[in-house]
Point group: C2
């Protein structure tokens, strides 16, 4: 099974192709949040930490995510934001490779990962430098100076997919560690962290996992590493015995030590409920249908769009991309605003990318057809060419 | 006005004296969360970042908190957990005082603050050491070697209150910076960060601010410092222009640079709604009534309790404590379980503290009287002395 559209609230008149930015509302979230607020917080009060098992919710959510990314259940925990989790991984990796002086990433990485690495390296003062390769040159850039290869598997702009197995193997061959950002992978395509022997991974709860705006992120640490790490962000809920209130830190077993502070239970509960939708989903079927829907979109858009208006930014070969289709488009911002005004919601990524996320759990062939037709209409009739659509909002 | 009990859901049969661990549910939260889920996430989808102004919610929440802690509105932002925010402050302070080698705290600090400092110093490898004074000896321990004095104003166990003005002034006299953890201060008593010229502060959204389990925390940076900091946790939502997606980091103006990743909107919206309850509240009236209720509780408990069963752990002088009363009690864990079973909810803090939070927004004189009588009954009749009450839960 790969389409459960009835499980989501899709507003009337909307074709939603932005689930790679924020997944839509799963109906189950409403009841779960009502329960969490009224029956748990309201009635149990502080007892909810035990009686509603809030204290273990990050591990329970992590175990559900682990199943979607090919990781052992106890190797993933849901916590903090993706950015904060990147900091934890880079810091841990540098401590494991103290004699190496390069963190290698690429220019296709999502900027926050680069910002976080940059901030950490500045903080460490005379630590390694951050080296950015072109996405195509990453493999060639890995050598024995590299402490950590830090990449996002699916390029947020183009959807270009890195070869996780090959890059991880090459990094290990050179004694480097690897951190994968799975923001656009988890719930979008099969991931096999265990099979690749990846060292670290992080990812996002609010895109293809549909956990709601700003849903908690997740972090994976390979189990044989996790037992040896001293977390730089060593907060009380990563302590072996937080309620002993010892003055000194002792890490919890395994990936649990990557927890830091008290988790935001309302947001975490929404993500937990949303993850139950995956119980009967075969991610390989999702992947097959994602490729078919993406191919259909490319075909139909390229048939309809005027010559020169768009240039495919995504790989044409479905096996080489994630679950999105992007086009370069000179007036991309205004074009996307015109689309949104007509009920087709994708997004714009500077400088000139219009981006359409395909989520087979709720995206249908009819959505794709209508979205392509609307895009053709906007372009052929220059419907984007008004000041209203050119005025930028705070969030693009 | 200082009592708005009708604004909260207090379950039938419960006397709630644990709002210093988790504040009760404000009724306004229900509608706000329903709106955020259905009208915003459900209908607006990704457009909620602009149309529901999610993107600025951390600043809007921060401005509300600022009013409760004597800080300029634009100097506070709500984000992450208290622990993560401690990391940001300690890291920033060390960068501002590179030639000093001591972070000074005390043994009354909440352990997570100490763990976080410990983890950061370990990460920095040959950075300063963490020095722990007795709470009474902090002033005397401040000298010219200290980079940062890092204290929680109200001791989580005893309620003992530090003299924020005197300690901050002494630290500045010696060229040190000061970070105040206001976890048990914000919403409990008047705080004057500006008047003290405090450098940094952090605090918690789920105690006296009633934002719900794991509600986002807050961070304050003195405005003249904020413009010069390079955050170690430098994520995209602390960037000057996150939606330009530049490869390099440039900090946002002011305290906004202390934001890191995407905020958990459901949890943040609950906190935002809960903060509106303070609109007509005079925190000085809250303080006066808090002291009166705490004095009443001490008097009535000491009148009723058997000789030797309890020893007051809190300062007897109301001006020297926060908004809680604690007693040393040999079988404290079991005693607290017996109380909870009888509807009087406080909590236990290892090794032997029973703790009662007083929140004048919903705690009444009748609550205090009944709680004292129930505690007397439990102690006089050894109602705690059963195995059921001695078996420890995961969260105490």
């Amino acid at each position: 099974m790969s389409c459960i559209r009835e499980a989501f609230h899709i507003p009337d008149g909307v074709i939603y192709l932005d689930g790679n930015s924020l997944g839509p509302l799963p109906h189950v979230v409403r009841d779960r949040i009502s329960q969490t607020i009224n029956a748990h917080w309201g009635e149990m009060l502080i007892r909810g930490w035990n009686d509603a098992d809030w204290i273990n919710l990050p591990e329970r959510v992590g175990a559900k995510i682990a199943q979607l990314i090919g990781a052992p259940q106890e190797s993933v925990v849901a916590c903090d934001s993706t950015s904060v989790n990147v900091h934890k991984c880079v810091s841990a990796a540098l401590a494991m490779r103290p004699d190496r002086n390069v963190v290698l990433s690429d220019t296709g990485n999502f900027p926050t990962d680069l910002y976080v690495a940059e901030g950490l390296l500045r903080q460490l003062n005379k630590g390694p430098e951050l080296l950015l390769a072109d996405p195509e040159s990453v493999l060639a850039a890995i050598d024995d100076t590299v402490a950590l290869v830090m990449l996002t598997q699916v390029d947020y702009r183009t959807g270009r997919l890195h070869d996780m197995a090959a890059i991880t193997a090459a990094a290990h061959h050179h004694g480097a560690l690897v951190m994968w950002d799975l923001a656009h992978s988890a719930g979008a395509l099969p991931v096999d962290l265990s099979g690749c022997r990846a060292d670290f991974a992080v990812g996002c709860g609010y895109k293809y996992l549909n956990g709601g705006p700003g849903a908690p992120a997740f972090i994976f640490v390979r189990p044989d590493h996790a037992e040896h790490l001293d977390p730089a962000l060593s907060g009380w809920l990563g302590h072996a015995a937080p309620f002993d209130f010892d003055l000194g830190y002792a890490p919890a077993p395994g990936v649990g030590r990557m927890r830091v502070g008290t988790p935001p239970i309302l947001s975490m509960a929404a993500l937990d409920a949303a993850l139950d939708l995956w119980d009967d989903i075969d991610i390989h079927q999702v992947r097959a249908r994602s490729i078919a829907l993406c191919d259909q979109f490319i075909d139909q858009v390229e048939t309809i769009a005027p010559d020169g208006a768009l240039r495919l930014a995504s790989p044409r070969d479905g096996s080489q991309r994630g679950s999105q289709i992007s086009f370069h488009c000179e007036e991309g911002y205004a074009v996307m605003q015109a689309l949104i005004a007509r009920g087709v919601i994708g997004d714009f990524r500077a400088p000139d990318i219009i981006r359409f996320g395909i989520a087979p759990l709720y995206t249908t062939e009819q959505d794709i057809k209508e979205a392509a037709e609307t895009l053709g209409d906007v372009l052929c009739n220059r419907l984007w060419d008004t000041q209203e659509y050119k005025t930028r909002a705070a969030v693009t």
